[in-house]
Symmetry: D2
């Protein structure tokens, strides 16, 4: 039996519940481009989930969700702040610049992936607001959970949003792992977003068990109107939209999204605990969701990699391990057994 691949959560398959929803849908005909019944009720379902009226745009990828959201809130001469680990800055091939017509993504120093309100306030103060030589601060994008596997407390989001709104910036949340953050925080989706000042959310589903869809969830109605056209123009409005909507609906039905994410988080927690007692091993960031950033002894690192665990050295002897919803306790325990054996072989007791 192959070992489990912990390279990312997108190596995982599709959750059964999602696949069943697609199967259940596959009969008869339905209007295209989101005029169908499944897509129609999606806004109701998400409205219930978020306890407010929302607009929902299913899109094919998290990159599309992020870049479209940011293009709706930043003018071409705008600046969007994010943490210096921001996926939008570093890992989306300039999507935000493309979709926005050339806005600037400006990374700010962060701690364990978390931006803080003071840093943002100082950046805005130094930005040259109103001076035509300068791109104008237009938005801030927070990744919840962060790219370092940590979460923002709800209060931290609110503080950042307060700074942003005070200066006329909109707040975007990159929720590629929003479910994991929700499971970790025990906060409600409403508390995590609009009640804390978030204007638009990239709601991640694919990493958490969907097949091919994330969603833009819009709390600020002014942004929704422009997004209709921006999504269409970006080739992000699927003609058989119902198959995307059904994935999202399955995720938010009976709490599946939270259940899957909670399990994934627990697996990372178990993994982190098991690795922490290895010699010369260091957890680089608090393990708050389903990601473990860890420095491992070289022999353990290479040994696990050779076994097929999908470890890729980040260039400095550290690795990111991601436990998808599909990872089982036995998988983690098997990995830990290997890791401890490799550590012993590397460093035998005299």
């Amino acid at each position: 039996m192959p070992v489990v691949n912990l390279y990312s959560d997108n190596v995982a398959p599709v959750a059964d519940e999602v696949l069943q929803a697609l199967l259940a849908l596959n009969h008869g005909t339905a209007p295209g481009y989101g005029a169908d019944a499944v897509t129609a009720r999606l806004e109701t379902r998400f409205g219930e989930l978020f306890e407010t009226r929302v607009s929902v745009f299913p899109v094919a990828t998290g990159t599309a969700a992020n870049a479209l959201s940011l293009s709706a809130l930043a003018p071409p001469y705008g600046a969007v702040y994010c943490s210096d680990t921001g996926h939008i800055h570093d890992s989306e091939c300039g999507a935000t610049e493309f979709f926005s017509g050339g806005a600037k993504v400006l990374p700010l120093p962060a701690s364990h992936g978390r931006l803080d309100a003071g840093t943002l306030a100082r950046a805005i103060a130094a930005a040259g607001v109103g001076r035509a030589h300068k791109v104008q601060p237009a938005g801030v994008s927070l990744t919840q959970a962060t790219e370092r596997g940590t979460v923002y407390p709800v209060e931290a989001v609110a503080e950042i949003a307060e700074v942003a709104h005070r200066h006329g910036l909109k707040v975007h949340m990159d929720g590629a792992r929003f479910a994991n953050a929700a499971a970790a925080l025990g906060a409600s989706p409403a508390q995590m977003t609009w009640q804390s000042g978030v204007d638009v959310l990239s709601f991640g589903a694919t990493k958490n068990g969907a097949m091919s869809t994330d969603a833009i969830v819009v709390f600020d109605p002014a942004l929704a109107q422009t997004l209709r056209y921006r999504c269409r123009r970006a080739g992000q409005v699927l003609s058989k939209m119902r198959y995307a909507a059904a994935q999202l609906e399955a995720m938010v039905t009976d709490g599946l999204w939270l259940r899957l994410a909670g399990h994934a988080n627990a697996m990372a927690s178990r993994l982190a605990r098991g690795l922490a007692c290895l010699p010369a091993t260091e957890l680089l960031h608090p393990v708050e969701i389903n990601e473990v950033f860890v420095r491992l002894p070289p022999a353990v690192m290479s040994g696990l990699a050779n076994l097929g665990y999908g470890l890729v050295d980040r260039g400095d002897g550290t690795v990111r391990l991601v436990t998808a919803f599909s990872v089982q306790t036995a998988d983690i325990d098997e990995l830990l057994d290997h890791a401890h054996r490799l550590a012993r072989e590397d460093n035998p007791v005299p």
Copy 2:
């Protein structure tokens, strides 16, 4: 039992073979973003189908396939010609302009949706090639089959491509219904594309039974390199790409794509024959694929619409009827029974 909806082929469900392929894939883990085995073998499968080396980029929509293809071949100051019925001009919310950074889509007069080589040659001659005041002709986009349900003979494509290449333009084929065209022509995919001078093809799958994927098929290797980044930057590289690749693979396995399209074409043909003998009815274009453009007596039009057939008056008493792969002979015959009954009731024999 509800009647069949003929509004478009994207109202149809997903072909069983495609769904089975997704189910068969749903276990274990696989690298993301197209580094998996299914995506890897896709270029081999398409290479066999097209009898040449190709690059294949699965994308979420036909609009993405078109606009990305055209952005790869036209500079921002370029012009892309299409027929005056071109989907890229009229129905994609300016996607080509967006993806290309502001290239111009220039519609040319066409007959039954078909552009001809002479018209293109005259347009290029009048374009001001080399004059900086003018956008520079960079590409031509042919829709095969056309937006009027007709097909280009292979020779017509070759003539247009010859004109294009002689003047330094690249040739794109919008193949949203490429399968229907192939079934109608009885020509090989190779003959229909690169052997006739096509440089890049939008290979439609969703309209023909896939769930959520079309593909860019690149014959000109120079275009493939830039597309890697353009696709990623456009949020069109799915993290669980294998589920898109598997749809495409299923389509081209054992000739499914041709079988489905051939059936759809046959349904349209049956429908057209049955409608043609109604009084005051006129077929507006040759019925060559799975689309029937027809002027119907108002009572028949509204009667069928009321029954739920998805007829939408195009503003002039005519309608487009599309027979998806899932439409059955009995569906057509039932519709024809209704149509003839409605015609009789409208115009009773004295």
Copy 3:
């Protein structure tokens, strides 16, 4: 002495008054980027001229004025209508598409270069307002005077603007030859623009005797704020802005702009009258400003061209002759002498 070149009005030199203004300015120091006194009083001067509060942005070219104006009023998914002779469509290398992030310029049928309100209304009605597949009507751009040397009566502008505003479109006026139109109409700048519903004007100066500057004159304050940044970002904010502002100031001081344009118009009128009585000669459009579109006998056409008058056959035996402000009565009379001689030689009385 060389004959006068009538190829365009931009072949002319700079009006003395403009040059003197530059000389008078050339001492001491002044803040850059428009923070100087000349630029500051420009809005006052233009406010007086237009009898309302305006924002004025001096830019280097008419293309910049047009494209920046349109980028301020059309979203990237917008459509801008113009006449089928529109400079923005045909002769600016896609500038509007570039500056707007890919909006579509849609040419409409026009008569003698003039769009009419009914045509615009029909285009908007057919545009698919609110449908995401369609670019959304955002603006209309009128060229006053038109690219065919005609002018819109003030009432015609008002009718078009009324249609535009009723459907939520903004109105741009391409006034590359606004001065010539004003001289022809005898209407006030206010009547010609905001009182007739114009939201933003490209105020042409270079063709009318300035050296290197046109201006965007904004009547709708909402557009002005975004233009500050768009101009800067486009490299259209000159660091020594005062030298651009001084050109504009000179133009509008003591009615210079109207005086120069009125003279230029008179020269065209004299030219048209003189040509009209040639055999086989046809004025193609009413001669209302400083442009004469005329079909000339081939021998006259080539004879005048050989003499150096700058005639370029437009491909169909017709030519555009433009009388700049610097053209003198004697120049016209000399040309007419040549023309009549050439006609006689071509067609000697038997």
Copy 4:
């Protein structure tokens, strides 16, 4: 008599020689859009100056020169590196992002404004070349002289260019103060540019005594072709181009550009020497061209500012003083007298 304003070199007027060239040109007619004789011989003149064949594009601003140059060498998914003081990153309102269709400008740590080859090499090594998630390194932009008033030795440029070219990047030089750098280095324009690996240069003229024009000087012929259209489309091709070309021609005639810049440099040097002996005063960067970055005693700073010298505190008690070509020795000496007096009054000998 007002004191001299040292806020920037663009507060200065136009050099007499330049103004005379404009006056001398102002007669007769000439073809527009650069088809005139002055523009035609500009490439010859610049070819002589740079000792190689070049293409020259006069544009209205340095921002346009930079952004157009970079748009020609970077694809929309490209990255352009510059120093962390780079004008293109910080002071052009995102022009490069706009013109390039969303390329990323990535600032790198620099010392006294100077990037070094090792830093660039490390950035490229970490950039993820060939990975689709990452913007792809496409160019490096060096400001010569730098935004901190220092110059790159010719060898340093060559080292950076060597690194760039080895990895497939093109080299742009932002020469807003290229003349000042040339005067400081005593190197030839050829040595400073193409002989050191520069592919395209923004040749600054306005700061050095021109009125309203800088130029793009292209050494790599492949970049020139696309720039023709990009300039036109950007509204940067003046219709009366000869008045821009004449400014550039005047600058490079009889070494005017070097004479003016050499004088400006000498004034800064005199200023720096005179300020250096003030108490509590610190020169922040080597004074190599016509800029002095200095920390002044607060009383001196505010005293000079009140006198009208154009000093603006950069937020940290330091100021940039720029000596334009028009600044005279007496101006500097007068300023120094004031400064020393203010220092004495602030800190009287007991």
